[in-house]
């Protein structure tokens, strides 16, 4: 074999290890599952929006509107009686509908008298993720078509209305039903708009804290091995559980400082956009109380403990500082998955399997907590805290168990290597 071939063979042997391939396989699986999730959203968008309408005007112009709705949407409720509004909303909620459009009795009269024809839209909003507001955009588009068609009708029939009304004959009066609240004068896009920055920045910050604190622990374990200090530490009169707890607590203190910085930044951040934009969160009652901030802090803290105990477990496998860098990868992936999922979709609007998957990842919970707390979904947040706490305790027990075994110092010995050693001894 040539020298080049010899070097290539050696390099390939060194590189063809599980640590090289496992991260790529995980990424492939991650992209595959994200692709499936996005695929289901595309299917959702291709379907006609489910709506209902009440036409109390029953005029030529209102019939243009209802005709467009019948053709372009899946109408599951229609009526001409305004008193059936609540029935319609309930029916739409049951049938996964998006909006109920109410055409008031003075709709065409107003337009013909140079006033905007008011369209009352009662939105049933399911989530505030980036992808969640796409379905309401489909109804927005229908309203644009209605507007254009009524405008075309007014112009083509030479109706004597002024140019402004002829070009924009309708106006909107939005009311949004979201997570048990009735937000008057607000559309789903408005709500998604004010919550969108929160949907993107919070998961990113949380992911960064988890990765930073996690890599501290993994590196700490790796350095103990690389600097040959672990053996001495393990022969000192200190219980294994104290060593594990000491490392976790020290890193958790650093993590807690990071969490406090995060919470302070977040509270200022919340304050700053409570008064900005087209919608005031205060006026809608969408603010976090002091208690909510404490629960959020608790969620962040227990998640840090979970992250650190998981990283301690990974750290026990680290042979040196270099391998520690590879071992931070699974933690990064586990932080990235909920980050993307909470950015794009609301927990409530996910399919059941993905809900279970997201809930099972301990790092998801502080990312989902702020929005859940705003909408008083304490069940999700508190059950998440309990789950993450149980996860942490189990991980710590596993790590302490590993500390009591030979594995920490000797690692695993492969059968093939054992056979080779036996053969060598026989010779």
């Amino acid at each position: 074999m040539s020298a080049l071939g010899n070097i290539i063979k050696k390099e390939l042997r060194e590189l063809m290890t599980p640590s090289t391939f496992v991260p790529i396989i995980i990424i492939a699986i991650l992209f595959g599952s994200l692709g499936n999730a996005i695929g289901s959203i595309e299917e959702e968008l291709e379907e006609k929006p489910i709506i209902g309408y009440i036409d109390t005007d029953n005029s030529n112009l209102s019939q243009i509107a209802t005709f467009i709705l019948e053709v372009n949407a899946d109408v599951v409720f229609n009526s001409s009686d305004l008193n059936e509004k609540e029935i319609g909303i309930e029916e739409l909620k049951e049938k996964d509908g998006i909006a109920l459009l109410v055409i008031p009795s003075n709709f065409s009269e107003n337009i013909l008298n140079n006033k905007s024809g008011d369209l009352e839209i009662y939105w049933i909003m399911k989530g505030a993720g980036v992808f969640d507001s796409l379905s309401s955009s489909a109804v927005d588009y229908l309203i644009t078509i209605i507007n254009k068609n009524i405008s075309y009708e007014l112009i083509s029939t030479n109706t004597s209305v002024n140019a402004t009304i002829a070009l924009t004959p309708t106006s909107r009066d939005d009311t949004t039903y979201f997570k048990g609240r009735v937000l008057v004068g607000v559309s789903p896009n408005d709500v998604a708009g004010v919550l969108s920055s929160q949907s993107t920045i919070i998961p990113i910050v949380m992911m960064m804290i988890i990765i930073m604190a996690g890599s501290i622990v993994i590196s700490s374990m790796a350095l103990e091995k690389e600097n040959k200090t672990l053996e001495t530490l393990l022969t000192l009169p200190v219980k294994r559980v104290s060593i594990v707890a000491g490392k976790i607590i020290a890193s958790a203190i650093i993590g807690l400082i990071l969490a406090i910085i995060y919470i302070i930044g977040f509270s200022y951040y919340m304050t700053s956009f409570q008064f900005s934009g087209p919608v005031s969160l205060i006026s809608l009652g969408l603010v976090l109380s002091t208690g909510d901030f404490l629960i959020l802090g608790l969620s962040v803290f227990v998640t840090l403990i979970a992250a650190l105990s998981l990283c301690m477990f990974l750290g026990t496998m680290a042979k040196n500082f270099k391998s520690a860098q590879t071992l931070t990868f699974p933690v990064t992936i586990l932080a990235l998955i909920p980050m993307f999922m909470t950015m794009f979709k609301d927990f409530d609007t996910l399919p059941l399997a993905l809900k279970g998957f997201l809930f099972a990842i301990p790092f998801s919970h502080p990312m989902m907590a702020p929005r859940a707390l705003i909408f008083d979904d304490y069940m999700l947040v508190l059950s998440g805290i309990i789950y993450v706490l149980i996860f942490s305790i189990i991980m710590i027990f596993i790590v302490v168990y590993i500390f009591k075994t030979d594995r920490l110092l000797t690692g695993s010995i492969k059968k093939k290597k054992v056979l080779n050693l036996k053969e060598q001894k026989k010779r």
């Binding site: 200190v238 219980k239 050693l421």
Partner: protein
């Protein structure tokens, strides 16, 4: 009853039999040497006695404490110096000694640290970060760490590894005086002159089995050898 009582010790790593039923005992104040070729099972035996590795079968008692049942008690009376040990690089030598002393002595901590400093004999460099130490300085610091706590049993794996002749001699002298003060020493070494100079008794271990045991003098007579190195080459073929 000796300080160390090892009975039929067996250690498996998976299907590899590293130690195959060895027995020996070490008396108080004795310096006992485990010698043998690479891979014979010396370090494994020392690591087991240091509570680092679990026992597959057999039993070990240290000062009457059962190693398997009372490892925490054993850790209070032993001190282990691994062959390739290190120290925390961000600490100064003195802070490292204080860190270790804190596990043993709360009241006379400074006295213990002062003893460690004296053994390490690093002068003002004791206040420098460990990161800046040479291999020899690091070894001296670690020997200081191992002996400053006045252990009942000091387990030293290649204690003079990495030291120059002068420093190695100084450490050997220190080990002898520590044993005279009542500390029992269990050591392993590849340096046969060191073993001959230091040890009251030695055990030759090969392929996980003790094949010879006795005082250096008796073994030299038995094998008609001029020194322990010759005994070694005759016994371990």
């Amino acid at each position: 009853m000796g300080v160390v009582e090892v009975r039929n010790l067996v250690k498996h790593y998976g299907t590899i039999e590293a130690v195959k039923g060895i027995s020996f005992s070490v008396e108080k104040g004795e310096i006992f040497g485990l010698i043998g070729p690479n891979g014979a099972g010396k370090t494994t035996t020392l690591r087991i006695i240091s509570t680092l590795l679990t026992i597959t079968s057999g039993s070990i008692k240290i000062m009457n404490y059962d190693l398997q049942k009372e490892p925490d008690e054993v850790r209070k009376i032993i001190s282990y110096l691994p062959e390739d040990a290190g120290a925390y690089k961000n600490l100064t030598g003195k802070r490292y000694l204080e860190f270790i002393a804190n596990f043993f002595e709360k009241n006379n901590l400074q006295q213990m640290v002062a003893k460690g400093e004296e053994i390490a004999d690093l002068g003002d460099r004791i206040n420098d970060k460990v990161d800046t130490y040479s291999k020899g300085m690091m070894r001296k610091l670690l020997v200081g760490r191992a002996l400053m706590i006045n252990p009942k049993l000091a387990i030293l794996d290649e204690p003079t590894s990495g030291l120059d002749v002068n420093n190695a001699q100084e450490i050997r002298r220190l080990i002898k005086s520590t044993a005279k003060d009542g500390t029992t020493i269990l050591l392993s070494s590849h340096n046969m002159l060191e073993v001959e100079f230091l040890c009251n008794r030695i055990a030759l271990i090969s392929d996980g089995v003790i094949i010879e045991e006795g005082t250096p003098k008796n073994l030299m007579e038995k094998y008609n050898a001029k020194n322990v190195e010759e005994v070694f080459t005759k016994v371990v073929k």
